[in-house]
């Protein structure tokens, strides 16, 4: 008899099978993932990756008998009252006999939907597939930033943090050996001998002399000399990267209802997940505005409340300022996503147009405008009311500016709209057609 402990064997024996399975159900799983993203709170995306896949794609057909055809026999346990020749009414809604364990009506439909759990990675992979920042390649070639350091041997100067201790001490030791620096043991031995001798012993002066010379020598030859020091050298090297910055502009003015703010936030959270996951070098700037705009951090942007009037140009001015300060359009791919209910002071229209046309859009690779509307949407029969901002932007778009506009009324539309705005070129062309 052998006992084998298999517990330490590497797990995940089924991983290749799982990958094959996922590849098989990719299309359906992707659809299911997007379905599930509609109603779910976007913040929870990927936390719970349970997906239901219709069974069609993963059916394993076998020849089996159709229940409810022909003469079927059932042997059942637990008879109480029946005697031979009794008749039993057919259970409603089933062709087969009652209690026919495997053969009953469940046979066909038991596999109707198939549920399984995706890991967070798998979920987001499917969720964000095909999305990308448009035109990112344009400047990628041009921008070869010097970023990143790598080890490159040793140097004699440097910051103490980079001191190469082993290397330094090795140098020190070879120098000490070469220059015959007295070892502490030698000095100690001599001292001991000196102590042992009585005062006035004839050998004493010689010994004292020797000890003095040793001490002097040790003093002249330091343990660690500045010439021993070595530092780890780091060398900057050019790494081609796509530098991108995303400006998130959100209207938080009083005219935005809770519903609208919710929509806008959902949109930005989606954007945030997408950017942080897909691009390692994307910076995100959060700007929110009422009648004046401020740059805020992530927490404040998503969390805090504020009310006031609306002045869209204030956000654009703030964005322009940040660009001028930190993001040179020659070095950066600049993107902007703006969410608003479309209300604006009418006098602000020309100012905004001017700002966009001459400052923002020339600097931007892509400008996405998301207009959030009422939950109920435009009332049936009424011509959809065009908001001030929409008309302003529409004029710019017609003139050929790199601006994409979408309107959202319900949160289930967020994800499709998001895909339209950031889907790959081909996909976007289709969606618009």
């Amino acid at each position: 008899m052998h006992i084998v402990d298999r517990r330490l064997n590497p797990g995940g024996k089924s991983l290749p099978n799982r990958q094959r399975f996922l590849r098989r159900v990719k299309d359906v799983a992707q659809r299911a993932v997007r379905e599930s993203a509609r109603e779910k709170d976007i913040k929870d995306l990927g936390k719970d990756g349970r997906v239901t896949v219709p069974v069609d794609g993963v059916r394993e057909p076998r020849f089996s008998r159709q229940p409810g055809t022909g003469l079927q026999d059932h042997i059942l346990p637990g008879n109480k009252t029946y005697v031979e020749g009794d008749t039993i009414e057919r259970p409603p809604g089933s062709g087969g006999g009652r209690g026919s364990g495997e053969g009953g009506e469940g046979g066909e439909n038991s596999e109707d939907a198939f549920r399984f759990v995706l890991t967070r990675e798998e979920f987001l992979e499917l969720f964000l597939e095909d999305l990308e920042l448009p035109d990112l390649a344009k400047r990628r070639l041009a921008v070869v930033e010097t970023e990143g350091l790598r080890r490159a041997g040793y140097t004699v100067t440097g910051s103490p943090a980079n001191l190469a201790l082993t290397r330094t001490l090795r140098n020190s030791m070879s120098r000490r050996i070469a220059l015959k620096r007295p070892k502490p043991d030698e000095v100690a031995a001599l001292e001991a001998r000196l102590d042992a001798l009585a005062e006035g012993h004839p050998e004493r002066p010689d010994l004292e002399q020797a000890l003095f010379r040793l001490r002097e020598r040790a003093k002249r030859i330091p343990y660690v000399d500045p010439i021993d020091l070595r530092f780890r050298r780091f060398e900057p090297y050019p790494r081609p990267i796509a530098q991108a910055v995303m400006f998130c502009l959100m209207d938080v003015s009083g005219s935005m209802t809770e519903h609208m703010k919710d929509l806008a936030k959902r949109f930005y959270i989606l954007l945030h997940i997408f950017l942080t996951r897909r691009y390692r070098h994307v910076e995100i700037v959060f700007i929110r505005h009422t009648d004046r705009a401020t740059e805020v951090d992530e927490e404040t942007f998503f969390g805090s409340r504020e009310t006031g009037g609306t002045l869209v140009s204030s956000a654009l001015v703030e964005m322009k300022r940040v660009i001028a300060e930190r993001y040179d359009p020659n070095d950066w791919n600049i993107y902007a996503a703006q969410a608003s209910d479309g209300d604006n002071v009418s006098s602000d229209g020309p100012t905004s147009t001017e700002l966009l046309r001459s400052h923002i859009l020339p600097a931007c690779q892509h400008f996405a405008y998301l207009e959030v509307g009422d939950e109920n949407g435009p009332r049936a029969g009424f011509v959809e009311h065009r908001t001030t901002l929409w008309r302003t932007y529409e004029a710019i778009a017609k003139a050929g500016g790199p601006i994409a506009m979408r309107k959202v009324n319900h949160r289930r539309e967020i994800y499709p709209v998001f895909r339209e705005l950031f889907g790959r070129k081909e996909g976007r062309a289709e969606a618009e057609a």
Binding site: R20, F21, R59, E60, R62, R65, G70, D73
Partner: protein, 523 residues
Amino acid sequence: MTLVKARTPQIIAGNQKPLFTGNDWDFDTIRRIHDACEAVAGPQLGLSWYPNQIEIITAEQMLDAYASIGMPLFYKHWSFGKHFAQHEAGYRRGLMGLAYEIVINSDPCISYVMEENTATMQTLVIAHAAFGHNHFFKNNYLFRQWTDAEGILDYLDFAKGFIARCEERYGHQAVEQVLDAAHALMSQGVHRYPRKKRPDLASEQRRERERIEHGEQIYNDLWRTLPQKTGAVRSDLAAERRKALLELPQENILYFLEKVAPRLRPWQREILRIVRLVAQYFYPQRQTKVMNEGCATYCHYRIMNALSESGQITEAAYLEFLQSHTNVIRQPNYDDRSYGGHNPYAIGFAMMQDIARIAEQPTEEDRAWFPDIAGVGDAMAVLRDCWENYRDESFIQQFLSPKLMRDLRLFHVVDDPEEPELRVEAIHDERGYRKLRRSFARQYDVAWLDPDIEVVDVDLEGDRRLILHHKAINRITLQKDDAKRVLQHLADLWGYDVVLKEVEPATGAVLGEITASARPIFF
């Protein structure tokens, strides 16, 4: 039916030190448990078994093993990933417990036991799997005839490697398509009866010579003057000969495809062969569910009781054992909400107990029904003989006693779609016993349960249309959707059109027809 047997008072002389106390175990405990079980299984029960190999695994590894139908190594396919996902989801949501053990019909016999099991559970599963199942695998005629316990792990290793190499060489998709198609036909990929051995050249020559000699001996010139046969008969003969050459009719469709399909490439044939051999390896297990589990359950019950009587397991452990034992052999009634068919553990264990009773303390009825075994005294000898020489269907047909039918209160309901109501055909009474037992046994006849589908004819020189018949016994037809899909797979492998006819065997009437044309995916 109660299973808590009145326990005999402990024999003072046999009072031994308990093997373990509490729930914890270590490898030394496992070894002691195994040796103690062995001491019961050999001398007292007369079992014989392959050498044991006990492997400790984690829950995750158990899920892995589930997904590859219990085998320690297996080729890769998405369907196993699907089953893994299913089991995992069920397990995580707490809908499903995991098995305490998995046992593999191999030599040495490998039993996987879970690390979470308590010491009592380890004793139970070792008695159950390492001795009960092991004895059954080694001795039952079906396993001896159809499976090669020594070679299976090596063969699976070969299969895994071969399919991986094919994936590398021909691409994942091409291999997946062949495997999908082969899996669809898996239950039509077994030989149900041993085939005739092909004669070798020497014996062919010898027979030929004998035939000529015989012809010379009975030569009569008169035969030459008889009129010639007509042409129609001759073409009929040609068809006969064609069928004979292709070994038609053939129920093993995978075998037929592997040998005859005109357009398959060698590696595709080899994959069909792998799937077919795996199906064949598992075929005996499908035919002996009740007996296999009954044998293992009866063995663990006897071993645990013996250990308890000799004081090797404590009262507490014995109660824990009884609890899981009674759980395992629970059989809900047909009108119970938890009823899901017959529980093979329950039927098997009850029949084993019943046979032991008949052998040792028969009633008058038993003597009339089972003159061969009633009162012979040595229950284990009778049981060992059953385990060796029967499968579920023949076992039930032979040994289901009237008493057990009464205990289980079995009854037989016939569902005839022509009639407005269901009819109770037989119950557990004098008139019903034999009828009941016959139809109950048939429920365990795999050949009766699986649809009976045969390749009937194909004209290889003509349009190469493959003709299959499904014998629709009792006019039960195939499930249309699935049948269509399977037939599509079959047509893809065959490379030409395929037609499946539903034939009623009694009258030869055709009830329906499904056709499929090959898609150009394999060639």
